[in-house]
């Protein structure tokens, strides 16, 4: 079972440990001492995430740029107003969304397939599991560079293989459609491990009995997966997709190394665009506005996602 992040529940740990603990009068449950443990973290997070967030908000309503010596100017709505009419910005948001949706779906499908293959004990299973989990641990810039080398049209192995098979040469990073695909393949390489590991853990925690019972009843492999395994995996699927979904929107290092956002602005993710505006061109306020709009966008989508999946999960439980 998985506990999805649910702000409305008031239980500590599995099975509502707190109320029972209280009834039995366990000694460790007094609240004040708990704050001594939690407060330092809360203060650090207030200082290092909430304060910069508010500061960023202030930046977006000001005009801090290189021209103004990086100091605050009058309050203004200009940044937000300009954003609405900024074609490059909308294009980056559309690109990022398309990329995220496709990447998460593909990574889920492959990850689920691999997890099903490695679920039962098989020979070399441990080896495959370790190997499959490696890519997600590596530095994004190293991954981006690695793939740039692989896609290289004159000295890269991918084109050598393709022309060896007489499939012709693909200008991977020079055309927008193939660059989209290039980034997608790289991301699938990097993040399928995440889906795979989470779904494998989910599979391994399933009760064997329900599955065996279904098999005895004569259910075929596909039916077992669809009717029995999939509903039982629903909570962990919801969580894995949620984590990947929110994090994919922040893709940066891989793309900047692989395509630099190009050709043109074809693979400029919103984070990349905010970075170009805010740091490379030193329009800090403009960059902060783009970044904040991304936060709003991701938060809205995340909340919608949680609302929809909560209903789905309830239906599965019936």
């Amino acid at each position: 079972m998985v506990e999805s992040p649910d702000p409305n529940r008031d239980t500590v740990g599995a099975g509502g440990a707190v109320p029972t603990r209280r009834k039995r009068g366990r000694p460790l449950s007094s609240g004040f001492a708990g704050w001594v443990f939690v407060l330092p973290t809360v203060l650090v997070l207030l200082a290092l995430t909430i304060f910069p967030l508010i500061f960023s908000l202030a930046l977006s309503f000001s005009n801090v740029s290189q021209d103004n010596g990086l100091t605050f100017t009058d309050r203004t709505l200009d940044n937000w107003r300009q954003l609405l009419h900024n074609g490059d910005y909308w294009q980056s948001l559309i690109y990022t969304t398309e990329f995220v949706v496709l990447a998460v779906i593909i990574e889920f499908l492959i990850g689920f397939g691999l997890a099903l293959l490695l679920w039962r004990r098989i020979r070399f299973g441990g080896f495959f599991r370790v190997l499959f989990s490696i890519p997600m641990m590596l530095a994004p810039v190293a991954i981006g560079f690695m793939w740039r080398m692989l896609y290289d049209q004159t000295n890269g192995p991918i084109d050598a293989i393709l022309s060896g098979l007489h499939l012709g040469s693909v200008p991977w990073l020079a055309e927008s459609r193939s660059a989209f695909l290039a980034v997608l393949i790289m991301d699938v390489w990097e993040w399928t491990p995440f889906m795979f590991l989470l779904l494998l853990a989910g599979l391994q925690s399933l009760s064997e009995e329900a599955i065996e019972a279904a098999q005895i009843d004569g259910a075929t492999g596909v039916r077992v997966i669809w009717d029995i395994i999939f509903p039982m995996l629903a909570p962990i699927t919801v969580m894995a997709v949620f984590l990947r979904f929110t994090e994919s929107f922040t893709i940066f290092g891989q793309i900047i190394q692989l395509t630099g956002g190009g050709p043109g602005t074809a693979t400029t993710s919103t984070t990349l665009y905010a970075y170009f505006q805010g740091y490379q061109d030193f329009n800090v306020s403009s960059g902060a506005t783009i970044a904040l709009s991304l936060l709003v966008f991701v938060t809205v989508i995340a909340l919608m996602y949680l609302a929809i999946t909560r209903r789905l999960l309830l239906r599965f439980e019936e």
């Binding site: 998985v2 460790l28 330092p40 809360v42 290092l48 499959f132 530095a139 853990a201 991304l294």
Partner: protein, 281 residues
């Protein structure tokens, strides 16, 4: 017996995926041992067969003009310091959330835990420009201290999430016994609870370190010279001298190798930690 002799079809997709995963890694490693001619003179696949391995890149980054030591030491100092700080704060908070009944107005334990984890959802680009301006004023730009501060905040949500999961998995009986014996809460935390979660602590430590070790956006905006990390060194190789693939690959190998080791060491812990003890297998 018939089962063993039957051909296992499932190995076909597994081997295909294994090749897909392994090939880019293989390519980086062999390219780190190529020289100019073996890279730009056509595609070479196998060392000793179609090209002679060369140590040129390694000479250059380990001893030559393009030394890896500065960024490597920055990465280590920043990575270890912020990991330890985040781990210290995170285990305290994780313990508090797992073992105490907290209230802040209408908010209870799960609300506080959710708030802490939700920081992780915030795109780093939202805060990085604010840090840039703040650090510019405070003189923290391009300093190790500044990076340690930023990365501690960056890692904290995930360490809290992991540690509270690990604390929830251990039985409470020992802590209660210690409490009855009159031990203070801090003593119970340090002497009873913490030793019980040591494997989880180590896993969290390795994973946190990997996040900081790999991070690029904060590093590229907030450092220029004195606190640059390995990812910055990798990224900055391009353009300056053309693209010296062998150098970038050699530096990438230095960046990747410890992470591969961590992936092997972590294995199952990675998942149980990520799910905060929510999956019981």
């Amino acid at each position: 017996m018939s089962r063993r002799t039957r051909f296992q079809w499932r190995y076909i997709p597994l081997v295909i995926w294994a090749l897909f995963v392994a090939f880019p890694l293989y390519w980086v490693v062999i390219t780190a041992f190529k020289d100019n001619a073996s890279i730009y003179g056509g595609v070479r696949w196998l060392p000793w067969v179609d090209f002679q391995p060369s140590g040129e890149a390694w000479h250059e980054i380990l001893g030559g003009s393009n030394s890896v030591y500065g960024p490597l030491s920055h990465s280590l100092i920043i990575g270890i310091s912020s990991t330890l700080l985040a781990l210290f704060l995170g285990s305290l908070a994780g313990y508090g959330l797992a073992r105490f009944r907290l209230r802040a107005g209408p908010f209870r334990n799960n609300d506080i835990a959710f708030w802490i984890v939700s920081q992780r959802i915030m795109p780093p680009v939202v805060t990085v420009l604010a840090f840039f301006i703040l650090f510019n004023d405070l003189g923290l730009l391009d300093t190790l201290l500044g990076m340690i501060i930023v990365y501690t905040g960056f890692s904290l949500p995930i360490t809290v999430w992991f540690m509270q999961g690990y604390f929830r998995q251990i039985p409470m009986a020992l802590e209660e016994a210690a409490y009855v014996d009159g031990a203070s809460r801090l003593d119970i935390f340090l002497r009873v609870a913490l030793p019980l979660v040591t494997p989880g602590l180590i896993a969290t430590c390795l994973l946190t370190f990997s996040f900081v070790w790999n991070e690029y956006l904060y590093a590229v905006v907030l450092t220029t010279n004195n606190a640059t990390t390995l990812p910055i060194l990798i990224a900055s190789q391009q353009g300056e001298l053309g693209t010296s693939w062998w150098n970038i690959c050699a530096i990438s190998v230095i960046s990747i190798a410890p992470m591969v080791l961590i992936a092997i060491l972590l294995q199952k812990r990675l998942v149980t930690g990520l799910l905060g003890g929510a999956v019981r297998g």
